[in-house]
Symmetry: C2
Subunit: 108 residues, 2 copies
DNA sequence: ACAATCAATAACCATATGGTTATTGTTTGT
DNA sequence: ACAAACAATAACCATATGGTTATTGATTGT
């Protein structure tokens, strides 16, 4: 059974270790697998597998540079999630007000 | 290892069948397990288990009425996801513009 | 009273998942 | 040339997951 892209994104971010890796890439920018392994608290192969899952969801992109591989976040893939929330979550107010503030700050 | 509430929400919505049940509850409002089973395309026990997972994430609430149980969506639990997106997804523009449109329409 | 309906639980199963250690293939520094 | 470093892959393992059928408990209609 082929998975819809939305499901790929949701599933990829469902695991806390994997979400942590993605968050780290957002915060710190491009990182090598080595650096991410130091951060993640699991083995290097585990990190590589997580990165594969994130890559399948298009949440990360990689760039080879000699013996090291640099990964960076591609937050555009979060679009699927934002769209879904707009469709199914926007009925409910409040939290979106705070999001609106963020948007206003972004206008500056 | 205890799971953070954010992880509960992400995990609950990662499964397509479960997400479908939640979407149905958002769209159609309160439903009995029976009605959801007709919709979901899996067995009644499977639906019950999915509802348990959604309940753990506080995405649904239930109300007993005689022999039937009525479930309804609690979209407030999506707040965890919106917050997370604001923190890690808001760096990136475009899709948020469309979300902004939604917010503007909601002003009316 | 009793058959039927509804929903939860139990018991089970196959597969997916998240982790490990070991290995391999490159690339790099000396 | 060669040892070390980096990252991917292989092989493996325990447990979680998503499904099933069977059963149970409660409620309802006749």
């Amino acid at each position: 059974m082929r998975q819809a892209p939305t499901t790929h994104v949701f599933r990829a971010l469902a695991d806390p270790t994997r979400r942590g890796i993605f968050e780290e890439l957002i915060r710190q920018g491009e990182q090598t697998v080595h650096a991410l392994t130091r951060y993640a608290g699991v083995s290097q192969p585990a990190v590589s597998k997580h990165l594969t899952v994130l890559k399948r969801a298009k949440l990360v992109r990689h760039r080879r540079e000699g013996r090291e591989t640099h990964y960076c976040a591609q937050p555009a893939a979060l679009g699927a999630m934002v769209d879904w929330l707009r469709d199914y979550g926007a009925f409910w107010r409040e939290r979106f007000d705070r999001l609106e503030e963020v948007l206003e700050r972004m206008e500056e």
